[in-house]
Symmetry: C2
Subunit: 188 residues, 2 copies
DNA sequence: CTTCAAAAGTGAAGTGACTTCAGTTATTGA
DNA sequence: TCAATAACTGAAGTCACTTCACTTTTGAAG
């Protein structure tokens, strides 16, 4: 399970992600770094880089699998809490800053918000999570395949991050406005 | 207004868009065509192509400015029809096939739905329209700046095209599920 | 009609992400 | 120990997109 091979592989992957984030923060921008430089700092070839990550953008979203897992778990393991409440709680929990220089920290967020390529990749990432969320909700409701209604809910929920346009936006207010719609429709 | 210069420019632009659509339909896919081939068929250089269109994808969405104008008009000039009804009508009108081999026709749609790059570009396009729609709704409601509630509505509406994932999806059902949420919230 | 600045168009050379491939090295399990 | 397998490699290629110095076409002012 944890042979030397897999440990080394994970280490390489991690040092690539670290090199990418580190270089981008140093240079002050995603576009100021090339994949060749990232590979160099991690001391591997560009070819190797692309066996670990499918794209340059993916280097910056190493942990997205765990976000998806947490989202699905928030639905599946919510006990007797209503679905919308569980989703609202997840959204709020997930929007809180954690550490400074690490993924999900404020300087990482800034990096993403300033780069169109990364913003868009993040949106695509949530679109992927949308599938998983729809599947989880469908199972919860006993649907064989996600119904249009289920998919619409997943879509609206996963679209919330894309609603926040800049650091000056009131993310909480926008989130709550969206949940108000989900709870009782758009007022008037 | 219609000097020779502007007519020629418009003609070049049009022949580029035509060449792009024509080639992609012939080859059966967006990825099966290169910008060099498109430029060749339109009998201009690649450099010229990129003075008319900012990206390869944009070649396929020549008319997106007029879509935005129509969307804003659907809100502003709707008479005494309720806002959500006007938006629903616009969405349905806009999804109706027009001609066969032209933009908005079924074979064009199929082309877009089968290409991740084009689907994503279309989604980005709607995200741009989201701003205009939010502004129009804000004006309609007498808001100085779009409120969170207004922005959430615009966001959910403009997100509908992104909800359709592939050519096999029932676009109408997904649209209606979204409007059901907008009207009275997500059912349970 | 001439002149001239701006706009449209051009070809060539480059950049950078991403792929492909044939081959080397390291790890593993039998 | 040995063979299968996986990680890794460098080089060469593809393609979207940019930049630049240049020519041609156009519109309009003098």
């Amino acid at each position: 399970m944890t042979g030397r091979r897999e440990r080394k592989k994970a280490a390489t992957r991690q040092s690539l992600a670290d090199a990418a984030l580190g270089l981008a923060l140093e240079r002050g921008g995603y576009d100021q770094v090339t994949v060749a430089e990232i590979a160099d700092r991690a001391d591997v070839s560009v070819t190797t880089l692309f066996t670990h990550f499918p794209s340059k953008e993916a280097l910056f979203f190493d942990q997205d699998a765990s976000v998806e897992a947490a989202l699905v778990a928030a639905v599946r393991d919510r006990g007797d809490i209503p679905l919308l409440d569980a989703l609202a709680a997840f959204a709020e929990r997930n929007s809180r800053p954690v550490h400074q220089e690490s993924p999900r920290g404020p300087s990482f967020r800034r990096l993403v918000e300033e780069s169109p390529a990364l913003r868009e990749y993040a949106a695509r990432m949530w679109a992927r999570h949308e599938q998983a969320l729809a599947a989880a909700i469908a199972e919860d409701r006993g649907e064989a395949a996600p119904s249009p209604s289920t998919r619409a809910l997943a879509h609206v929920f996963c679209g919330i991050p894309g609603l926040v346009q800049g650091p000056d936006d009131d993310a909480a207010a926008l989130r709550e406005a969206t949940f108000a719609i989900l709870r009782s429709g758009w007022p008037l």
